[in-house]
Symmetry: C2
Subunit: 376 residues, 2 copies
């Protein structure tokens, strides 16, 4: 039996039977799960946040929500969402972090903002995770300050998943760190691997470093050093060396590790290319009478195609390496997209992402002296 | 009247009337143009090289070819391509650079290789340009050694063009330089701008630096420094600041400038995403009877769509900054793709890429002292 995952994902049962079983047990034991929502974050807040929470609640009926934001603005919406209202607690605040606020500014003056209070709820254990569609830089800065990084992790990273020819894969860092040294990349590999186990439900995800050539001699020093280090860690059997940009969509490995500059460019280049393809396809199909008629027949197929690359399915930039679970939804997403971001936060909570990371960090730290000695 | 360009490209006459006119004049003045071909380079050499040359000859009847490679292997093919045979001179050599040769190895032992002799022909002015589908690293190393960089250019870069929502754009560097300082990036901007004028036929191409955020504070030091420098150069009116990964396919600017690591990842990520889309689309259309029938009707539209994203149209990684024109065709391309790579080399030769670069370098050098003073 395959475990139910967020975003309509289903685990591959052949790869994952044992794990799926443990998940079911865990669900029964942990019972209700509380998620903190920054109701004022995002282009279409609070509307899509509450409607998104409502969809998530249908998918995960054991969830309850802490709703941080303007009570008057929420009241009218909640009236029309009675189930959500019963499963939620509203914590009123007038403050919100604006989309154009600098991270430093948000840190200084946003202490009573909906975003900050929602993060605080994770820090004081009132909630298992926080989800926000607000200002990314502010969210990362606040989450770092309040939740701090996990022991053994120097810097948090932003991860997300992608559709591939083989299913789905994870990439990180997508923009939290401009430059990374070899140790940062090794820690990202570790976090990405645990994330793929937790959210994609893979037993032994494969991992690789993004580079510009498969040969050992190519690439930046830090990438080559990270490869040498990874071969000495418990991840060695899953580490596949280097992959190139085209391997991301091919699904050559389950976890693609890179620095935040390169990862951000790759992510946005893929998004741009996807949009270009849709644009060209739409133009071509609109431009002839025959095509318009034929389109009626192929529409179900095209819609199926669209759903496979629907950005809402892949909504959720996940902050990994913090002492708490924080998921950033795309600012311009709709209710379905926001529900998927909540789903990722729930998966990470229910499937024990933080505990798994702690176990992995320990296994790494036991080996660290050896690996450093080996590298000289 | 729009000038005829390689790859079936057509200039936008509204943007380009004056320039197109000067091109026509130049064509008459220069007469026949000689292109050196590495006949032994590429996965399907010599077959696709000669058939590609034959297609290029139909498009550009004023071309003649120097064919470097094994005469016996060429003989049978040329017998079936009489027009090409009449327009060509075969220079026999037994040596060829293998696909897996290291650049250093090719430099040492490849002095009589078809690739090296073809480059030599450009150095001694027997040919205007060289086109090869062989080993990229070896081609770059040999071209750098033999042709050297242009005065005022510190490092060559690899450029190519991309389909965008607005037409086509140019990106560089795609892998010649792992790391670049601000001056390298400024020189790439200059070379890319001249390339866009020469091959895309734009009068005043817009230029931007690839970065991970539009705000001035984001990005690596060298990218921010390059932006400051570019604002002080003759390119300032065309310089649009920073763009992000999604802007490449959107066609936000005509020339996207970045370091070789990032550019290579972006290029291959875009290729991978394009392949993923085609894969999903094909799968969707195959999976239902109705879709199969409807596909017959939309096929012409889909084919039109395919031709817009056909990688053969964008075949040709161009080595910019060398004292000679060198174009690298994709190793796995077919005859049409190789013909397009030849077309790029012809465009660059006919439209005076090297002279234009010299003029631009001079304009920059006259301003250099000011810009350095301004940066302190």
């Amino acid at each position: 039996m395959a475990a139910r995952l967020s975003n309509g994902r289903s685990r591959d049962p052949s790869r994952d039977l044992g794990f799926a079983f443990s998940v079911e047990i865990r669900f029964v034991v942990t019972g209700r799960l509380t998620i903190a929502l920054d109701v004022m974050g995002g282009d279409k807040a609070p509307d899509i946040v509450l409607h998104g929470a409502n969809i998530a609640l249908e998918r995960f009926p054991n969830t309850e929500f802490l709703l941080f934001g303007s009570e008057p603005q929420m009241a009218a919406l909640l009236e029309r969402l009675p189930k959500l209202r019963r499963a939620s607690r509203v914590i009123h605040t007038d403050d919100a972090v604006s989309n154009d606020a600098k991270p430093s500014q948000a840190l200084r003056s946003g202490r009573r903002s909906s975003m900050r209070l929602a993060i605080d709820a994770v820090a004081d254990k009132s909630a298992a995770a926080i989800v926000s569609a607000g200002n990314t830089g502010a969210l990362m800065a606040m989450a770092k300050l309040v939740l701090r990084t996990l022991p053994g992790i120097d810097r948090p990273a932003i991860a997300s998943f992608f559709p591939t020819e083989r299913g789905e894969s994870v990439m990180l860092d997508l923009g939290a760190n401009l430059s990374c040294d070899a140790n940062n990349l090794v820690q990202f590999a570790m976090m990405g691997e645990v994330f793929a186990r937790t959210v994609l439900g893979l037993l032994q995800p494969t991992v690789a470093l993004l580079n510009i050539g498969a040969e050992e001699l190519k690439g930046h020093d830090e990438v080559r050093e990270a490869a040498a280090l990874l071969r000495l860690t418990p991840l060695a059997p899953q580490f596949q060396g280097f992959v190139e940009g085209n391997d991301i969509a091919a699904g050559t490995v389950d976890v693609v590790v890179t620095d935040g500059f390169t990862g951000n460019v790759a992510l946005k280049t893929a998004e741009g290319t996807a949009r270009l393809f849709s644009f060209f396809l739409r133009q071509s199909l609109k431009n002839s009478f025959l095509a318009k008629f034929g389109y009626l027949l192929v529409r179900p197929a095209i819609n199926k195609f669209r759903s496979r690359v629907d950005p809402r399915r892949y909504n959720g930039a996940i902050f990994l390496g913090l002492n708490g679970i924080a998921v950033k939804s795309h600012g311009g997403t709709d209710a379905l997209g926001f529900a998927n971001a909540i789903g990722v936060a729930i998966d990470m909570s229910v499937h024990g992402f933080l505990e798994k990371i702690r176990v992995e960090v320990e296994a790494f730290q036991n080996l660290q002296p050896n690996s450093e000695a080996a590298l000289g």
